[in-house]
Symmetry: none
Subunit: 230 residues, 2 copies
């Protein structure tokens, strides 16, 4: 809803601007927009191009896989007449271990095997399959998550005090205490990204040449983007 609205707003204002400029100016090519505005316009076109591209591809993906969607949502039911509110219908259900499976998984986990090898996963999967649907991937993910989350629980007591008095409800997971060697800021390596060099300043439309995420953020920033690249 908003999305469309916003785009239309953008479009409208641009149209008005352009019309005004054209109507108000003489016939000679006097200035219509500043270079920055020009560039901005170009960027917006890029944005739209990219969005359209993404949407088209998503649409293709959807239509090509549509027959696979079982869409048996059980308790979830959307009134067809009230399609406005029922925006999100997801066909994907995620695996949930049965209590028995969970019990067994926990037991195996507690046995100390920090490394569930591939073969082990196979066995476990086969074993747990007796109690409900499960796949090796499920088992793999479960152990992976179990390990990771049991480890993070040991980070909770920020103070030297133990967990008994936890008076820090607002503490996010951001507190970066000098842990073991593991947690390092994980610097993402970005390269300068020479924007000027990669996009010819032409008046004509080019295929989108900026990152999608950046484009998305630029929809409303629309012109303030340059700071990102500095």
């Amino acid at each position: 809803m908003e999305t469309k609205q916003e785009i239309e707003n953008k479009n409208t204002s641009n149209s008005n601007i352009n019309s005004n400029g054209i109507g108000g100016s003489k016939n000679l090519y006097m200035k219509v927009m500043s270079d920055e505005q020009m560039e901005q316009l170009r960027q917006q076109i890029s944005v739209y191009t990219t969005i359209c591209d993404q949407l088209v591809q998503m649409h293709n993906s959807i239509t090509s896989q549509q027959d696979l969607v079982g869409l048996r949502l059980g308790s979830l039911y959307c009134d067809p007449m009230m399609a406005c509110s029922g925006h999100k219908i997801s066909a994907r259900q995620r695996w949930t271990p049965t209590p028995l499976q969970l019990q067994l998984l926990e037991r195996i986990f507690d046995e100390g095997n920090g490394t569930p090898t591939k073969q082990k996963i196979k066995d476990i999967t086969n074993e747990l399959g007796q109690h409900g649907p499960i796949s090796e991937t499920n088992v793999y993910n479960w152990f992976q998550n179990r390990r990771a989350r049991s480890k993070r629980k040991q980070l909770a007591p920020t103070s030297n005090n133990n967990n008994t008095s936890s008076a820090e409800p607002e503490a996010e997971t951001e507190v970066e205490s000098p842990k073991e060697k593991k947690t390092r800021p994980e610097s993402f390596q970005l390269q300068p990204y020479d924007y000027e060099n990669s996009s010819p300043h032409s008046l004509y439309i080019h295929s989108p040449d900026i990152g999608f995420d950046q484009l998305m953020s630029k929809i409303e920033v629309s012109g303030c983007y340059s700071s990102y690249f500095l």
Copy 2:
């Protein structure tokens, strides 16, 4: 939400700026475009806007999947769309390929060159740098992961075991119990690990609805980026 507000403000200010520049006409900006070019630009934006709307609508029809009737390309009647609860958007600390980059990477990967040499990685990095920030390390890691994970998907799907389990999910037939705790959808683990190797043609989004939702939510909440970029 205030996202829309911000965007509208943005629009307003842009309009003002432009109007000033044009209306004042004292600012002697030079040249830039002819009226025809201007008009052409405006029309293209219009076209993109329209197409985006239509695609969004198509997507809604398809995913909601309950009413394929109203699918008319000519009628722009989009009002549904999500009021999706805005997720928090935080600065990414690890590289994430833009959809375009992903697409290109997948294509390169499918071309068979299993071992991208150093030079090849350089080239690819350079190429993809046109679409967003990226580094050689990113490319290297991506190929490594892609290779490794595409290899581990050959043994999951048919690991379905006894039928005793497969019959289980249907045991409970959506009884009338809104508050029942027993609710264990259990369901099916449809896609164990198949997402890696999608169809060769739609080498793009593994899970269409997810991609779309992410996109949409980004558009919606994109206003939150502002402070980050400024």
